[in-house]
């Protein structure tokens, strides 16, 4: 197995774990120290696992892009 990704946050590691699991990719997670979570996959699954990670990043960016800039003028004091 080779290293796919490292996370300092356990929740992030768990999120990727569940996505790999859904895709039928076997993985192993190790914890080094108190805050280093490392996910390993078999070499043959590396491409698919990376695609899943990349899609996740895109989804995150899409989510951020979907948030409209607040129109602060709506809250402007009508009296001014």
């Amino acid at each position: 197995m080779i290293l796919l990704a490292s996370f300092s946050n356990e929740l992030e590691a768990q999120l990727l774990e569940s996505q790999l699991q859904d895709a039928g990719i076997d993985f192993k997670t190790t914890q080094e120290g108190t805050d280093a979570f490392k996910l390993m996959v078999f070499e043959d699954d590396l491409d698919l696992a990376k695609e899943i990670m990349a899609a996740r990043t895109l989804e995150d960016n899409d989510f951020i892009a979907d948030i409209d800039e607040p129109n602060l003028d709506e809250f402007a004091d009508d009296a001014i």
Binding site: M1, I2, K38, M40, F42, E43, D44, L46
Partner: protein, 153 residues
């Protein structure tokens, strides 16, 4: 398991019908510039996986394949492979999965081989093997050759 120098692999060329294609692939590829991932040499019958691995505290279990022969090569850095004959393994960790083409064993290995640049380690279905995390970062190539490419005996 066969351990062989890449620059003196005449015996491999003579005994493995697909080795010439592997040699050509290895000699014409710039692995330091290649992105990690799969590279087809001859479709699903013969392909390579370029991968980076990093130092970590971890132990990988013995694995074995039925449909593919593995060729493990270190391009930069080095790593160890643990080995034991599959026929001598008695402690199965995960049964053979046809789709994923591997089984896992809990057995302790009997042999440790260091894979240095310029060395190829060829692992057949009889070979339970466990590439270990490197002591330092490594760029490796794993060539997967379909067992069906071997001459029938």
């Amino acid at each position: 398991m066969i351990v062989e120098q890449l620059n003196s692999s005449d015996y491999l060329t003579a005994s493995l019908p697909w080795w010439t294609k592997v040699q050509e692939f290895l000699s014409t590829s710039d692995f330091s510039a290649m992105p990690a991932g799969r590279v087809d040499i001859d479709g699903d019958d013969l392909y390579a996986i370029v991968a980076d691995d990093f130092a970590r505290e971890d132990k990988c279990y013995l694995e074995a394949h039925r449909r593919y022969i593995d060729v493990q090569i270190a391009c930069e850095g080095a790593f160890d492979i643990l080995w034991k004959p599959l026929s001598a393994c008695t402690n199965e960790r995960q049964a053979y999965d046809e789709e994923k083409d591997y089984c896992l064993m809990n057995d302790d290995a009997t042999t440790r081989v260091s894979v240095l640049p310029g060395t190829a380690v060829i692992l057949f279905p009889d070979d339970a093997h466990a590439p270990q995390p490197p002591a330092n970062n490594v760029r490796k190539v794993v060539v997967k050759a379909a067992v069906s490419l071997m001459p029938r005996t």
